[in-house]
Symmetry: C2
Subunit: 135 residues, 2 copies
């Protein structure tokens, strides 16, 4: 049994977040006589699981479902796969959206002199003049 600090060091999850995960019901450590949270190896494994899932960008609500599936020996891998692929789609949609922003902004910036003069197609676009160079 370890303290929260030890569990944090062992799992790579900050003590702050470990308490948070407990508050939202992802983990339920025991309590020592002095009131300190007491973590077993299995708890640390859960924390590592959570961290890995977070590293892949899963929202905590999905992490909760993944944890449930992980613990369920009768799970179907199809269900896990569905959660994963849904998340892949969400990630790719978000990435595509960001790349689209980057591309149009980069395009605008390419047409900006970038010198001491005030003329700037970027500001023109933001103002809503619907871009000069499109004409």
């Amino acid at each position: 049994m370890m303290t929260i600090g030890e569990a944090a060091a062992a799992s790579g999850v900050s003590a702050k977040m470990i308490r948070h995960y407990e508050a939202i019901g992802l983990i339920r450590p025991q309590r020592a006589a002095n009131g300190y949270r007491a973590y077993a190896e299995a708890d640390v494994a859960v924390l590592r699981f959570i961290r890995h899932a977070r590293d892949l960008g899963f929202p905590l609500e999905t992490v909760r479902r993944l944890l449930a599936l992980w613990r369920d020996r009768n799970r179907s891998s199809a269900e896990v796969k569905r959660l994963a692929l849904d998340h892949v789609a969400a990630l790719e949609a978000k990435a595509a959206s960001l790349r689209a922003m980057a591309a149009s902004l980069r395009h605008l910036a390419e047409h900006c002199h970038g010198d001491e003069r005030p003329d700037c197609p970027i500001l023109d676009e933001l103002e809503g003049l619907e871009r000069v160079e499109r004409a």
Copy 2:
């Protein structure tokens, strides 16, 4: 002079957000005798500017600087361009991070049967078994 609802309709920014932008000092509408906010065309132009900048993913603090540059007739386009290109870099970094997550998760999912059986490399990875198929 228009009310906040009219300004919202004209600018495409919700009344809620218009008040928020005012609270953080991006816009300063006048007040009518009855206490209602009163927006001129110039205010609506500011709101549209904000919306366009937000559509390109600029954080509000950067929008604030862009607005200042927009209003400054002696601005240098170089400064605008720098803000823009910094933001492009941030967007691309974020997009790359998301795509990396999507790619590794997709890879894991490809090796998941996705049937009624419980075996699942996705869960194995999350557990931290460091992926079987890498061997």
